[in-house]
Symmetry: C2
């Protein structure tokens, strides 16, 4: 796959990221990781303590990447509403789902605080980031002062996460976009 460019640990981590996104933690076996990484059994257990250790490394990296991607749009130019809109309309691989959010449906992730932590922290960071932007928008008169920033932020993140569910259920990214348009209509400044 990427054998020529990366070290064995790197290939193992990247393969794990791919497979966790595609099949979740429960659905990803050490053997599948090794084959995808073109690494032997011995290599994997030399570099990592086992599946949970490797998964933790992979999840942390994915979480970091997701944060950076979001910040790239949310920290960009424009008014708060415009930046939230840009975030919601951003190009996404909708049918693959959210590589972080999907992990919450994995029983073994939820049962393990260490594995759950990066998932929790990432979604929490996103909510706080958005909450601050909603408040900033209120100061500029872009959003109604009666709204609660944390609540609206949670609604925004939930709409995105739920959008993936609707899209995957229907086999089409259209449902995601429809939900986003509805949210933007509700958020839209009246002037």
């Amino acid at each position: 796959m990427y054998s020529d460019f990366m070290s064995t640990p790197e290939r193992l981590i990247e393969s794990t990221r791919e497979l966790l996104w595609e099949r979740g933690y429960v659905g990803t076996s050490p053997k599948a990781i090794q084959q995808h990484a073109e690494a032997g059994q011995g290599s994997m257990y030399h570099h990592f303590k086992g599946k949970p250790d490797l998964a933790l490394t992979a999840i942390r990296r994915t979480a970091e990447e997701m944060r950076a991607t979001a910040e790239g749009v949310l920290g960009g130019p424009g008014s708060p509403y415009e930046r939230i809109e840009a975030y919601l309309r951003r190009e996404r691989d909708v049918l693959r789902g959210c590589p972080i959010g999907r992990l919450t449906m994995d029983p073994d992730i939820i049962a393990n605080d260490e594995l759950r932590a990066p998932v929790d922290e990432t979604l929490d960071w996103l909510r706080e980031r958005l909450a601050g932007m909603v408040e900033e928008g209120q100061e500029r008169g872009e959003f109604a002062p009666s709204l609660d920033g944390e609540e609206i932020a949670a609604t925004i993140v939930a709409t995105v996460q739920g959008g993936y569910v609707l899209a995957r259920a229907s086999g089409s990214s259209a449902a995601f976009d429809t939900g986003v348009r509805g949210l933007l209509a509700l958020l839209r400044p009246t002037r």
Copy 2:
């Protein structure tokens, strides 16, 4: 578990429903189902063709139940806004997630059109039901006429599905409620 009251096929179906909710399709083995149902290997393969067959029966029943529960609230008394609010605030086992929505993160469900169909149909029915109610609310002047019923319906369903994600990530149902409050604030009639 429920050995005394139900036939073996019933126990198998109910056990499968439980386990699919808890661990998903990939995370649920025939052996686990048999043990939960207190049924032997032979029994399971006598009554069902295999894991996919049993899962399909279980998923259809869960889908039917979810529809009935939703209709119980959405078809109740009150204005459209009030019934949508009742639906959103309805008692839920938030930390367990949605027994239908969670299946969309299961690669083997998504890869199998027969297994995906009941999931798709249920979420689709819900969206259409809500879209009609939004339009009814618009006729009564409860919602702004500029809104699109289908879009708002998708936003509502996505907020619920995503609310489960936030709740499970944080290990607390509070995040679900926060997202719902945000959505209700955005939907609230001004008079």
